[in-house]
Symmetry: D2
Subunit: 336 residues, 4 copies
């Protein structure tokens, strides 16, 4: 059985997902594309020989040939499109975030609950990165004893700052836009939700973020309900590149995933010392993870399984991110 899928959104990551669906994922056939940008839409459909191209999402999901849909549209559209697609009987993969507000998340939650027979998967791709998956397995096999501290860094390169500033009014802020991945990882690795949150930060290089009550670098310290700790740091000014690193300190061992964001396995010895170049963006770093998660989604549809990442994970992470934002904005401790 080959799953027939449509992809909505051909932005940077959307194009990558669609390309993976077209060329790298087994058991699936990409039969429809949807994007507002008609020129890009038509060119892509032609280049890849995709039979159906839509500028209207509502039209696409009425295509009876489709089994599933992959959503990488602008974030504020996610929840509504999830609901529409499910109501049309389609399995749904949706990029993070689930929604830009908790209310939107609830809409998606309800739609998912209404269709228990359909597969819904949220794109927390880090869980499908081979190194993260390996580390998670070690933690759950008890290799590091009892988890004590989770530390998650997400840093975008300074080279991407102009886009970030332009988008600052719509991003929801650092915690919702960037730290949400680390919030998901913290819950996934530590197996617990926060009970108390403190968050700080500021505009260290780019005062433009202050207008949106946001910072260019922020951090949060969380006490989780099982007593463990989580520290998050999210920044937009990394000179070295795209840096996502994670540490889990346990009573019997510590794991670090990507403690340096090495671009590849080349080490250079020159006048700058001994060095490795760094990953420059999320597609370079998480290319495998994006493929793996889509593979899992297709496999779930084929096998009638539910993926590990649920719609409730999406809502919970959004709620926590908003609590971090609240602590940051008010300079207060927030209890959940």
């Amino acid at each position: 059985m080959t799953i027939k899928i449509g992809a909505v959104g051909l932005g940077r990551l959307g194009f990558q997902h669609a390309s993976n669906l077209r060329y790298s994922i087994p058991n699936v056939e990409l039969v429809a594309l949807c994007d507002m940008n008609e020129e890009k839409l038509n060119k892509t459909a032609k280049d890849w020989a995709i039979p159906n191209a839509y500028t209207d999402f509502g039209a696409m999901i009425k295509n009876r040939e489709l089994d599933a849909i992959a959503i990488t549209s602008p974030s504020p559209l996610h929840a509504e499109q999830i609901a529409q697609a499910l109501d049309n009987g389609l399995h749904v993969f949706c990029e993070k975030p689930l929604g830009t507000t908790v209310e939107e998340c609830k809409i998606a939650e309800e739609a998912v609950a209404k269709h228990p027979d359909l597969v819904f998967m949220l794109g927390f791709m880090r869980r499908y990165d081979p190194s993260y998956a390996y580390a998670r397995k070690m933690v759950f096999e008890g290799k590091i004893g009892k988890p004590i501290l989770f530390r998650g860094y997400s840093q975008d390169p300074e080279t991407a700052i102009s886009g970030a500033i332009a988008y600052a009014g719509h991003s929801g802020g650092q915690f919702i836009d960037m730290a949400v991945h680390d919030i998901d990882l913290a819950r996934w690795f530590m197996g617990s939700d926060p009970k108390t949150i403190f968050a700080i930060g500021g505009c260290y290089a780019h005062p433009e973020f202050a207008e949106f009550k946001d910072g260019d670098n922020v951090s949060a310290l969380m006490h989780l309900q099982n007593g463990s700790m989580a520290f998050l740091f999210a920044g937009r000014t990394a000179p070295h590149g795209y840096n996502v690193e994670t540490e889990i300190v346990g009573t019997k061992g510590t794991l670090r995933i990507a403690s340096v964001p090495q671009k590849n396995m080349v080490e250079i010895l020159d006048e700058h010392g001994v060095r490795k170049e760094c990953s420059q963006d999320f597609i370079e770093r998480f290319g495998d993870a994006y493929r793996n998660e889509m593979n899992e989604f297709i496999a779930c549809v084929k096998e009638g399984r539910k993926p590990e990442v649920t719609v409730y994970d999406g809502t919970k992470c959004t709620e926590i991110a908003y609590k971090c934002k609240e602590a940051f904005e008010n300079n207060e401790l927030v209890r959940m």
Copy 2:
């Protein structure tokens, strides 16, 4: 245009290549399988829904549907199968080595020369590993100045020793079986062939290899025609895993590819210190490279291009490997 391909040989690496052709390579359709093991052949054909299954190579290449063939059969069959396939008008991808003797290589060379319109590609996959490709580009852009020394290590894990001993009589020895990859890399990075070769080694852990005038660990020092140097080390007793590392020392910089054979990006801090686990075999280490080289082969067929790795590279590397073996066996300097 979709290339229709047949794959011969479903051993460990052959199965991997076939699986990639079935599921991960765009623009290609795997339509035929060939293997002596009828049970494995039929099971694989059924699992993957491959319409044609052969135990006879001669029968497969007569299938008029085929455009190309991927050869991963036992090494002594390579040259003859290359010639047969080309003579039947098929493009050919062949796993290394080109042949187990220089004479076999010449048979393949002639067949390739006779069919200038067909694509032939030899599987020196390391060239298609992202880190090797990145390093090669740096060297050729002059980033490290003039190359001085090439150092290539190829170590198989001790855990694979029983298979290596069983196969020792047919492998051609350490230089032909293992160091041939480093010989290719040395020529590729340094842009020159050896003029003088010295080689030594011994049976440090497994006296069984002595029976075949071979060692379990061997090394060679080569003076290349452009004056640069190459040092090779090949071993079968690595306790830590599958270790392929390469260094190019230049007048303006040094590059090291995989200076440690890290399994993934997980770093562990525990009672053993601070550590990374290691790759355990060639498929784990070079999974991407195997996919990339096959992508390149298919792209060449589609676009009517010739790949960078030629049949002459195969012959030359085999010749050099035999000269190393000669130096090692006779304890003499060999001049080419």
Copy 3:
């Protein structure tokens, strides 16, 4: 001019300081020792040919031959001994902490203020570690731009846990006993004091600490007055050894000091992967720093200079550590 010095306290670190003064520090002569343990005192004095040995601190400081004194006695004695020594006209080096309470620190402060002609130095030895000194210089030369985040880890090995439990009632707790070094580093690198502090933690492996309202692993997040951030983590259960690592994230670069606690420059590739063994205690890790700080103290005495570490640094760090403890105990944000 050779400075004549007496050393009080021959515990683990005291013995090390005394040994350095006897054998490794130029321009100084160790002429007196003081310890309550008469046997150890007399043996050491004899082995090293030290002419004066005292069990009574008051008697030692009356020795008119002395120019200076090095205090490594139990922490609760520090402040009083500092005052006595200064009042007797002696220059004073004192191991951290300055005192076990803020009140004790104030006693020391007053004594120092009363004797502006005498040198007083507090033993925040990390500042004299070559790597820390190198990093501090880079930060102050603007090499990493504007500092954003300080991260300081101090982990003692699990192998030392029984001593830590035995001493738990007198240590002042994790923040005063361990994190005080990181508090000093945070102030030193970031050039600012905290304005808001949140701290959490728990007993993850050793419930014994709960009795003293302490944890075996704790952390704190601080917002500093200049807007920068500091995250501290202090633990007693590290399986890999003695781990002190520090990171300073800036707008133009990030520095990490001892990001892994490598014991030496030996890398091991074996069945555990590729690894470095780790430092096991503070004397192994900071041996050079202990010598360097004592060199600086002697140089200050000789040259009539004041060292960079002042008595006020000692008080401030103690105050901050107590605020961390307060936040931790009450589960509240503390504002300074």
Copy 4:
């Protein structure tokens, strides 16, 4: 008992040794200095308050106060001065090389043999570096099984090239001047001498060395008598700094000492990637080793012990270095 010592030669390393003897080594008193440069001699004697200063070595060793002498004079003087000092009843520490020819080495050998009651120690300081000593102990405890391959790199920084060119006529060439340390390490780690040697190299950046039948980068492959292998590489053009690295591959493990020449424990993440700066010269890298070896010499004198490094090690390493030079010059295999 305090050993009274005189130091001859106040060049870069000589000054360092003398300074260590004056300030950092216990149980010794530096009472005499000797150098041809009268100005430097007198200034140093005055600054350090050394009572005796000589421009004539013969006069210094007649000083009856002396117990021992440390020789860091120009290499061609070593053997003769060793003999003179021993004949005057003095214990002798001598920097490497023992002599610049095998004949000179024999003179030193005879003098040492004539005075079995006196301590003679040769300055192969790497053996006293903590990391090398640690690795050697592991090898001899069987931690890596049976040694298979020794790899030794010695690279001087390109920044020091003008001095190296100026000295090229007197250095004896790369093998005698630089690789001799690696020859000593190979014998020390592998416990065996070479039976066959091949050596190559060239002038890759600096044709000036050709005039002296030398290269700016050279290498040698040796088969040792116990069957193990040794590969040496010595270069003068390292852009990154002073790089001395060593690897011992064994049947049960591999050890690498200073696989990258990190300057300190600071890691930098900036626009060049993630990097460590490198050691820039031998005094920066081996400062501890120089102190430790002198400590050992003084301890041997005090305790009437003989040091591990013997005069015969010096002769043997010189012989091997000349055989490497012979192989390199003649492009022939050399058998010992």
